[in-house]
């Protein structure tokens, strides 16, 4: 196979995967009424993808906020505008860094485990066993994880953003000596709840949560039933999710501006 043909194959493969995942979405959604019976399973998954991701999300949020304040302080100092540090930290976190970094971390932490878990269930015939016990594996396994991911992402975005602002405050006020009142009042007067917080954290969070969990569940559900297949599927979850997050972020931002 020539390099060009190989590249074209890769491209076609990618397109086919996107199409396949798109077709998987209606299947997942159609199973939502049936999966209401498995409410407890959804709650359990919410615990796994949401609560269990809290530590990494909080730690990363804190450091992102701290480094952001540090960098911005020294840039704003040139223009004598260090009082705006809090505002700029908050705006960058709410609009971009919060949802995007949370989604990237979420894909690595929760997305991969969803793919690997479903993939292994496929490889060890557990999904067929459910089929044989007249239990629909889409409703029992796939949809609860999908719903849990969609609910968890915006919440994790909120936690990430809060921690980032806290980190910014820590560096800006506690360490570099910006006035506490200036830090907060500048921020509160320049940040808009609807345009910045809701559009950024909530809508972007929902969109990323939907896409990342769709990719994760789809990759796991359609993986070839071998250990190699599961390994590839897990890698593809991270790669595809990262690209999707950044591409969708650009489109959403363009529409929100």
């Amino acid at each position: 196979m020539t390099a060009q043909a190989k590249r074209r194959n890769l491209l076609l493969d990618g397109l086919a995967q996107i199409g396949d995942a798109g077709l998987f979405l209606p299947t997942l959604l159609a199973a939502v009424p049936r999966s209401l019976r498995y409410f407890r399973e959804t709650v359990r998954q919410l615990w796994f993808v949401g609560a269990m991701s809290l530590i990494i999300i909080m730690t990363c949020g804190l450091f992102v906020g701290m480094v952001l304040a540090l960098q911005l302080y020294h840039v704003l100092e040139i223009f004598g505008g260090t009082a705006s540090t809090g505002t700029v930290v908050a705006l960058s976190v709410y609009r971009e860094l919060g949802p995007v970094v949370t989604a990237l971390l979420f894909a690595g932490r929760a997305g991969t485990s969803i793919t690997a878990e479903i993939g292994l269930m496929r490889a060890t015939d557990q999904l067929s066993a459910m089929e044989m016990m007249a239990v629909d594996p889409v409703a029992y396994v796939a949809t609860p994880r999908f719903i849990a991911g969609i609910i968890a992402m915006p919440l994790l975005c909120c936690v990430f953003s809060a921690m980032a602002i806290f980190g910014g405050h820590l560096v800006g006020v506690t360490w570099l000596g910006i006035d506490n009142g200036t830090f907060w009042s500048n921020m509160t007067s320049n940040v808009d709840v609807w345009k910045d917080v809701i559009d950024g954290v909530i809508w972007k969070g929902l969109a990323f949560g939907t896409v990342v969990t769709l990719i994760s569940v789809h990759q796991g559900y359609t993986t070839p039933p071998t250990s190699e297949g599961v390994a590839y599927a897990t890698t593809r979850t991270v790669v595809a999710s990262s690209i999707a997050i950044l591409a969708i972020d650009f489109v959403l931002t363009a529409f929100m501006m």
């Binding site: 060890t124 557990q126 044989m132 007249a134």
Partner: protein, 288 residues
């Protein structure tokens, strides 16, 4: 969902008496299956009588697991027809198929226990999904089934803590928890020690005798099969090549059974998966 008492288990008890002699629970006609062009079944005809234990034997790779998948509608055949309890499996809707599967127990070749749950919850899983039984009753049923396979004490172990033979017995307990009308066992004796093997044989017998459950047994152990099966069907090259009473089939004189039960490499059953010329494959073709 079906309530426990309305469960077809009661029908299964009644059926052996009410069914006319020679009535087949599973009827296969002209079944043809191809995997990437290679025919696994080639016009297979088979009847599995109601209330009996039928053993299916055949060289590995001959399609025994595939046949069980056809019977349960997990896999569609390319041609031919297959009825289970009078229903054409290929024409069933998804709901119809699920209704049918609630009455069929299936023991997977590799156990397929749910790794999220412990032994008890694995066996309880079908009950919890399809009934609203009170917790004490579920507990009683599950412990009875686990006792039957000798693993009541292992109820709180996770599947990862079980040996292959134990996992198989748990899977067996799960397959019979509903007292289905039909149980399909895919190689149930693999990995069992002689004691467990005897217990499992006794269990299969008891289920058949007391509840009249029809059983299909895919296995290679002729001695074990002779103890429980009413009938043996030998499948090779995509067709039924011999059938008969387990005690007699081994020496019915046909070349198929002579080769299979005698374990001879040469005969009508090829030992090798279809392949090209061996010498050519090794690169000896040109030098010779």
């Amino acid at each position: 969902m079906l309530g426990y008492l309305g469960h077809p288990m009661t029908d299964a008890i009644a059926s052996p008496e009410s069914a006319p002699a020679g009535d087949a629970l599973v009827r296969v006609r002209g079944l043809t299956t191809r995997f990437s062009g290679r025919a696994v079944f080639d016009g297979l005809d088979l009847d599995i009588p109601r209330g009996k234990i039928t053993a299916i034997m055949g060289p590995s790779g001959t399609g025994k697991t595939t046949l069980l998948k056809h019977i349960t509608g997990q896999l569609a055949a390319d041609e031919g027809e297959l009825w289970v309890d009078g229903e054409d499996v290929a024409r069933l809707s998804r709901e119809g198929l699920f209704k049918l599967r609630e009455r069929v127990g299936y023991l997977f070749q590799n156990s397929a226990l749910l790794t999220d749950f412990d032994v008890f919850e694995n066996v309880a899983f079908p009950l919890r999904q399809h009934t609203k039984l009170p917790e004490e009753l579920i507990r009683d049923i599950v412990l009875t089934k686990l006792q039957a396979v000798g693993l009541r004490g292992a109820a709180r172990l996770m599947p990862s803590e079980l040996s292959g033979g134990m996992a198989r017995r748990v899977a067996l307990a799960r397959a019979i928890v509903f007292d289905p009308m039909l149980i399909l066992y895919d190689e149930p004796f693999v990995g069992l020690d002689p004691i467990a093997l005897n217990q499992v044989l006794k269990l299969i017998r008891t289920l058949n005798e007391t509840l009249g459950i029809t059983s299909v047994l895919v296995a290679h152990e002729l001695a074990a099969i002779q103890q429980v099966a009413d009938r043996v069907v030998l499948i090779a090259n995509g067709k039924v090549v011999a059938e008969g009473h387990p005690k007699e089939i081994a020496d019915d004189g046909s070349p198929w059974t002579r080769q299979f039960f005698g374990g001879e490499p040469d005969g009508p059953v090829p030992f090798h998966y279809p392949a090209g010329d061996y010498a050519a494959d090794l690169g000896l073709g040109e030098t010779a």
